[in-house]
């Protein structure tokens, strides 16, 4: 009777210890990654290549999602605001929601599932097929040659993707509110401009997306590099990338928001 319970407790303990080990490995890996990033900045063509795979190929999903999120915001916001006769504030509502929260967060979530999982799968497969070890035997450091360019490409593309998401979202909100529902064009923009502050809202949004970019790509490259070199190991690592980075994004977002937007407006 008591045997399964003991096994469970052992299992929990084992998992806790294992996750502490993983955290240690991850920190060491991240430090190595930063130390060895010099090469990818010197050979920027490697980063450009990865920018194509992480940034350009994520554009479609970012554009479409941004447009729809903006349109839904416009519709829902109008429904609520018109009850208070404040439908002219729809522009401000759409822009503030997008620039502060939805732009960075939703773009990062999409980025994690589109580009993050691809990075993990690619690095994991390279490990499984001994490509990383082969590279090491050729006296080329795989962290510098394979991991660092992918990491920096992700870090660079994230703020751009978030900005594109927000801009397209505002356009989507404009489409619904002004073109479809008939809110006044001028008050849409003027309310938006009087409510949105460059430094507090937009710069903070960009800072958020930069931090999310670092977090998502760091998780993705680590999971790939640390994957068990089997087909199952890589698929597990890919899933973990999406789950872990989504949770990290939402957790970080709460922390960052409470730092950035405390006490103002």
């Amino acid at each position: 009777m008591s045997k399964p319970i003991i096994i469970n407790i052992q299992d929990i303990g084992h998992r806790v210890i294992e996750s502490i080990f993983r955290l240690g490995r991850a920190s060491r890996f991240f430090l190595l990654l930063l130390l060895k990033s010099g090469m990818s900045l010197r050979r920027f063509d490697l980063v450009i290549r990865e920018l194509y795979f992480t940034g350009v190929l994520s554009l479609i999903i970012i554009l479409i999602s941004g447009l729809f999120v903006g349109m839904v915001l416009g519709l829902q916001g109008y429904e609520t605001l018109q009850k208070y006769g404040a439908e002219s504030a729809i522009g401000a509502l759409v822009a503030l929601s997008l620039v502060r929260e939805l732009g960075p967060v939703v773009a990062a979530l999409l980025f994690a599932s589109r580009a993050g999982s691809a990075i993990t799968a690619e690095i994991g497969l390279m490990k499984t097929t001994e490509q990383l070890e082969a590279m090491g035997m050729m006296a080329v450091d795989p962290i510098a040659r394979v991991v660092a360019p992918r990491f920096w490409a992700g870090v660079i593309s994230m703020p751009f993707l978030a900005a594109i998401f927000s801009a397209v979202g505002v356009f989507g909100g404009y489409l619904v509110a002004v073109v479809l529902v008939g809110v006044d064009d001028g008050s849409f923009w003027s309310q938006m401009q009087s409510m949105v502050d460059f430094r507090y809202d937009i710069v903070n949004g960009i800072i958020k997306s930069c931090i999310f970019g670092v977090a998502v790509t760091a998780v993705a490259v680590f999971e790939g590099y640390d994957a068990v070199p089997t087909a199952q190991g890589v698929s597990g690592a890919t899933t973990r990338t999406v789950v872990t980075s989504s949770l990290v994004i939402l957790g970080l977002d709460f922390i960052l928001t409470s730092f950035m937007f405390r006490g103002v407006s």
Binding site: V56, S194, D197, G205
Partner: protein, 161 residues
Amino acid sequence: MQRTMMDLWVGLFVMAGIGALLMLALKIGNLGTYSTAQSYTLVGNFENIGGLKIRAPVKSAGVVVGRVLDIQFSVETFDAVVTMQLDNRYKFPKDTFASILTAGLLGEQYVGLAAGGDEAPLKNGDKIMKTNSAIVLEDIIGQFLFNKASENSTSKSGGKE
């Protein structure tokens, strides 16, 4: 061949990203209108600022002319010192009247400037001498109830006599 196509796409991507950032900055964030280079600050002491917050608009005749930069409590005069950042294009006379107003019944509070007739304009760092505090809803309600109560009591007492 494939290489140049990739470079082209990445170039387009970066351009789109920068374009989006510029749009956020200029079209949505309205950057440039209130940058420090083109603005000057004014200070005003208010007995009560109500719910005024940093970054609240400063309006004159309904037009946004600046923003509240800072709010401090003065231990010398025991009132609120509100620092406002105004656009350089808008100059106000020395005897301008500043009051804290509310947009709509429950809307956000802002500083309203009513221009006076003085020839000399307010300069950077000047103090607005004539201010009017925020109307605090509780005070009005309190006053209203107090008036009602005193009315009632006088009418009641009048009835007894």
